[in-house]
């Protein structure tokens, strides 16, 4: 095996085995995948971008092949979206997701992964426990947490009730927390320039519960790749457990962390399902995120010609996601063979 690897290495060094640039066969191999990509990814994306420059509704759709359906709006849909307070409210709620969800889920999954890595017995069973929620769809996770929050028979109010905390009001500086009405009015956090409705946190919790397992798996994979000699060397140098975790383990997990964080950021940006089943973006628009606004503009507001605004939101959201995914894309491209 080692001989084979050495031979391949020598061949690479000589430049053998690489596809010749412009080789027809190579292009033919790529063609089926390229066609699928063009048809099912590129064309819909292009169609979305084009449709965002027209005024249309879901019942009177814009169609590229039918000029009779063209009602050109230019950048009107973008102007309408960007000057709409509702969009900025949704963008703010999405920003809450963007900040809280990746941080909570990444830190939690890292802590769990390291904790499990540290123990010698029952690690596999524990890991399974934390990964298991990943097998539940986010919609189901949301429904489950609606039951957890239920004021009459929910686990959370019951648990708080044991300590006499169900319905308690907690005011700590800018934080006004109500330990009740989890899906409608659990309180606010005053930031000075804006108010964070904590109902967003109630929608984030099911997503953290369901997706932390992904982080645990990723970090566990990273942890198994850490050389035991490194840990041993740190220990011999007198580092305690926390110092080892802080100065040896975490830096070694930087690659896994980027992947986990980017995946969580992408999810936070496009989150829809779990918010829909828990709060439907409410009460009012207190927890409405951009993806829900997009859906409403296209489908709930079906008598209004606002589908163009929905696609404008989709384009803006995609642009932000591409920017958010840039570190991951860059690392992928860096790793790709030339």
């Amino acid at each position: 095996m080692a001989g084979v690897i050495r031979a391949v290495g020598r061949a690479r060094a000589r430049g053998e085995g690489r596809a010749r640039p412009g080789g027809t066969i190579a292009y033919l191999f790529v063609l089926p995948a390229a066609l699928v990509f063009a048809l099912f990814y590129l064309w819909p994306a292009l169609n979305t971008v084009l449709s965002s420059f027209f005024t249309w509704s879901i019942l009177a759709p814009w169609q590229l092949a039918d000029p009779a359906t063209w009602q050109f709006a230019g950048l009107g849909n973008y102007v309408e979206v960007l000057t709409d307070g509702r969009f900025w409210n949704a963008a703010f709620n999405t920003a809450i997701w963007l900040v809280l969800f990746p941080i909570i889920a990444t830190v939690l999954s890292l802590a769990i992964a390291i904790g499990i890595w540290e123990i010698s017995r029952g690690a596999r069973a524990l890991r399974t426990v934390f990964v298991l929620p990943m097998t539940v769809s986010l919609t189901a996770a949301g429904v489950l947490w609606v039951l957890v929050f239920n004021p009459d028979f929910g686990v959370l109010p019951a648990a708080l009730g044991v300590f006499g905390l169900d319905g308690a009001n907690i005011d700590i500086g800018p934080l006004h927390l109500r330990l009740s009405e989890w899906l409608s009015n659990p309180g606010t956090l005053e930031l000075g320039f804006a108010t964070v409705n904590l109902v967003n946190l109630s929608a984030i919790m099911p997503a953290v519960w369901a997706l932390t397992g992904f982080g645990v798996i990723s970090f566990t994979a990273g942890l198994t790749a850490i050389s035991p000699e490194l840990i041993e060397a740190a220990r011999l140098d007198g580092a305690n457990r926390f110092q080892i975790a802080r100065h040896v383990v975490v830096p070694q997990l930087r690659g896994a962390m980027v992947i986990v964080a980017v995946v969580f950021v992408i999810y936070a940006l496009r989150t829809f399902d779990v918010v829909w089943v828990t709060t439907q973006g409410g009460p009012g628009t207190d927890s409405e995120v951009v993806a829900i606004l997009l859906w409403r503009e296209a489908l709930a507001f079906f008598d209004s010609p606002s589908a163009g605004q929905a696609t404008a939101i989709a384009v803006l959201l995609s642009a932000v996601m591409v920017i958010g995914a840039y570190p991951y894309l860059r690392s992928l491209l860096r790793e790709a063979p030339e």
Binding site: F40, Y41, L42, P44, A45, N47, T48, S51, I58, L59, A60, P61, W62, Q63, L64, A65, M134, S137, L138, T139, F149, N150, D152, S180, E181, W182, L183, S184, N185, L211, V263, I266, Y267, R270, F272, D273, Q280, G281, G282, P283, G284, D286, R296, A298, L299, A300, F301, F302, D303, S304, S306, A310, T311, A314, S318, V322, A325, Y328, L329, L332
Partner: protein, 450 residues
């Protein structure tokens, strides 16, 4: 969104999202509003049930009833298939809250069901795009024979053409109460607003029960309250003016009605109303002894035993009185609603679909559900003796008495309906009437123009 999509590499996630968006927003380019599928409502379909009529094939029907109501609707459908054994009726149930959006997507994608449960607002939107089959010939016979009045036909019409049939009527603003609880609290049904408020204060002071159980997590529940307050505070003219756009949302009478509602919510609703759904609230009142009253429609007569315990007996265990009017002048204004059905213009089976819709509007079909309870037959020739309980008979009488106004948000539909529902939730949470009115003025201007 699909489970675990967050685990996809980000470069794959982006086009997947765009694909989702394009599918949702353009219907894959297959939408064909106005296309002539050859089923333009000109069929000679038999419109009475029972003759067989040589009908065959399948008919897909989208409706929103689940549980006991779903079973009752199945019984109605069975009546049609028994009379037309060569027709297969395939029922597809969707949650009521999602009915509009799902139906819209199906029509936009060019794959609508043959027959679909509709509300007046949805009929306007679909008929405006020429997606529904005209049903005027069916209505001509009904109006002539006295089965329906012109008023019903108008509600089911768009620009003078009927596109829907009435199937199920409902009267709302009914204060449901348990007889044993009334006895325990030594209170009785009342007709005057002041007496009603005094009774609620008494219940609150007693502390054994909450005045009301409210399941406002379901978006249609708060509209049950707001429409009742609007009808009985501002009257039918203002109510109907909001529907047709002739009255503005910042009209003083409208503001007064919603202020009255806000004060009532803050005074007598449970704090966690937005965290509880209809079914839980239904049982909190009916079987769990948490609340003295529930403000709901007549259908509760059927759903209560099914949801909360088969041993609950309509009439002997629970009954209702109509909510008194905050404004005495409008005490005879009743807030009613109803479920309609429409036929897709491009249905593959126009004869059977139209015959099925006509069957649903007939007294025969409506009697099937009426016999099971929790149902008001809008067809005037339905035999009143079919109603199984006094509760049902009382509700049916109220349905045809006084001045009726039809469910506001269902009548308007679309963006205004969607925004009203979400703003009502915000009003419940914040108590800010001004914010509610401003949001409604803005959406009204956006949809109807200034």
């Amino acid at each position: 969104m699909a489970r675990g999509t967050s685990a996809l590499p980000s470069w794959k996630a982006l086009p997947a999202i765009l694909l989702l968006v394009i599918t949702a927003c353009t219907g894959g380019g297959e939408a064909s509003p106005g296309a002539d599928g050859g089923a333009n409502g000109e069929s000679d379909a038999p419109t009475e049930s029972g003759d067989g009529g040589g009908l065959s094939g399948s008919v897909t029907v989208v409706h929103a009833w689940a549980g006991a109501e779903g079973e009752a609707f199945q019984s109605v459908v069975d009546g049609f298939t028994e009379a037309n054994p060569d027709v297969q009726v395939e029922l597809r149930q969707v949650p009521f809250d999602d009915l509009n959006s799902q139906v819209i997507q199906q029509f936009a994608a060019g794959t609508p069901p043959d027959v679909v449960s509709t509300l007046p607002g949805l009929i306007h939107s679909l008929a405006a795009q020429d997606l529904l089959m005209p049903l005027d010939d069916v209505w001509d016979g009904w109006v002539e024979s006295g089965e329906y009045s012109e008023a019903f036909r108008t509600i089911a019409s768009h620009e003078g053409t009927a596109y829907g049939v009435f199937f199920k009527g409902n009267i709302n603003g009914l204060i449901w109460h348990r007889n044993d609880v009334m006895e325990e609290l030594a209170i009785a049904a009342t007709e005057g607003w002041d007496d009603f408020i005094a009774m609620l204060d008494e219940i609150q002071a007693d502390g054994t029960y909450d005045p009301f159980a409210v399941g406002a997590a379901d978006v249609w529940v708060p509209t049950q309250w707001s429409d009742t307050f609007l009808a009985k505070t501002a009257g039918a003219e203002v109510f109907n003016g909001l529907i047709d756009g002739s009255v503005a949302w910042d009209d003083p009478a409208v503001v007064e009605a919603y202020t009255e509602l806000r004060d009532f919510i803050q005074g007598y609703w449970p704090d966690d109303a937005l965290d509880v759904g209809f079914t839980d609230a239904n049982c909190a009142w009916a079987s769990q002894g948490e609340a003295a009253f529930q403000n709901q429609g007549a259908f509760v007569n059927l759903t209560t035993p099914a949801n909360c315990g088969e041993d609950l007996d309509p009439e002997s265990d629970y009954t209702f009185f109509e909510m008194p009017a905050p404004n005495d002048e409008f005490s005879d204004v009743h807030f009613v609603s109803g479920d309609l059905f429409s036929v897709a213009k491009d249905t593959d089976n126009p004869d059977a679909a139209k015959a099925f819709a006509a069957y649903l509007g007939s007294a025969d079909a409506q009697a099937v559900w009426a016999e099971l309870g929790g149902f008001i037959a809008p067809n005037a020739t339905t035999d009143p003796s079919v109603y199984p309980t006094e509760n049902d008979r009382k509700a049916a009488e109220l349905f045809t008495s006084g001045t009726a106004v039809y469910d506001l948000d269902d009548a308007i539909g679309g963006e205004i309906q969607s925004v009203e529902r979400e703003q009502l939730a915000a009003l419940i949470a914040s108590g800010d009437v001004d914010a509610f009115i401003q949001a409604m003025v803005e959406v009204d201007e956006r949809v109807r123009g200034e």
